[in-house]
Amino acid sequence: MANPLRGEVFRLYKNLLYVGRDYPKGSAYFRDRLKSAFMKNKDVTDPEEIQKLVARGEFVIKELEALCFLRKYRAMKKRYYEPEH
């Protein structure tokens, strides 16, 4: 694996793991799926391909943040506000 990209991939993995702590189905479930998703692509060597995958990973982080926020917002709305609100 090209050296500078190696760092990027590791950073992506750590960031995804961090966001996965709040995953609705549990952080263990998330960690397993994350690991297998990364392992599936471990033999990719083309730098362009790696960049594309890293970009996809960063997109997933944004999606997870939105998911966790929505879940929290909906829970607060349900608990603290009247239905008509």
Binding site: R11, K14, N15, Y18, V19, D22, P24, I61, E65, C68, F69, R71, K72, Y73, A75, M76, K77, R79, Y80, Y81
Partner: protein, 254 residues
């Protein structure tokens, strides 16, 4: 207004955790349970950071009262954009009996010490649901309050606050310095990502004791008992309308 904003953040049991009452009914199980920043406090931090990004205020100071772990909550606030933190150390029995009145006294003392222009808090904590700290802090400081804020705009040395009230919205204009409490619709708090948490490690968190601020933590309240809400009884299914009518007659409803 180019002053300092004090934001109070509270470490509470994470909103998604299933709460368990201790077997002796003295309280709720907190050991080993996931904790995080109170959702309304996140909204308060976001508002303060937004004001700083708009260059309307100069510095955001995050404050939390509690044991060592309260520092994690302050770190999250720093990762969201606060400049520095103040950890007011309260632990053990004192922490168990710590309530809104104590926290308000602490925040009022800090607001004066730090010469804050604005104190922003969450409207209530999801663990005790008191909804008192903001109001008490304003009273102790003799400052105006904008509670349940769903919109805040700075207009010179005054603040326009749109408040969420029963049956609608109320718009008020208050002088500064002031205390605001954040409601759900005020803003969308940003996520404290891992890179931001790492960068926030360089920011300072000062350690203070309540005694240093002249605050006494004796409690006038004693929790007698904590119980789970009554279990919802399972419903009964009936086959026909006739069955429904007879069941209703049976249980004395009609």
């Amino acid at each position: 207004m180019s002053g300092r904003v004090l934001v109070g953040v509270k470490r509470v049991i994470d909103y998604a955790v299933k709460i368990r009452v201790k077997p002796d009914n003295s309280g709720v199980v907190t050991d080993g349970v996931k904790h995080s920043m109170n959702p309304f406090c996140e909204i308060a931090v976001e508002e303060a950071v937004k004001l700083k990004e708009k260059k309307l205020i100069k510095e955001v100071v995050a404050v939390s009262c509690g044991p060592q772990q309260a520092q994690e909550t302050i770190r999250t606030a720093l990762a969201m954009g606060a400049d520095r933190g103040i950890h007011v150390e309260v632990s053990g029995k004192d922490y168990e009996t710590l309530g809104p009145l104590h926290v308000s006294k602490i925040l009022a003392a800090l607001a004066k010490k730090e010469e804050a222009q604005l104190v922003i808090l969450g409207k209530q904590a999801i663990d005790d649901d008191c909804n008192q700290t903001g109001q008490m802090t304003a009273a102790l400081l003799d400052w105006p309050q904008g509670t349940f804020a769903s919109e805040v705009s700075l207009e010179g040395d005054k603040i326009k606050v749109v408040r969420e009230i029963d049956g609608g919205l109320e718009t008020i204009k208050i002088n500064t310095p002031a205390v605001l409490t954040a409601d759900l619709r005020l803003n969308t708090p940003r996520y404290a990502t891992l890179p931001n948490i790492m960068k926030a490690k360089k920011k300072k968190i000062a350690n203070v004791k309540p005694a240093d601020l002249g605050v006494e933590l004796t409690s006038r309240l004693e929790v007698l008992r904590v119980d789970e809400p009554p279990q919802r009884l399972a419903g009964i299914k009936v086959e026909t309308v006739g069955d429904l009518v007879s069941k209703l007659k049976e249980t004395g409803k009609i």
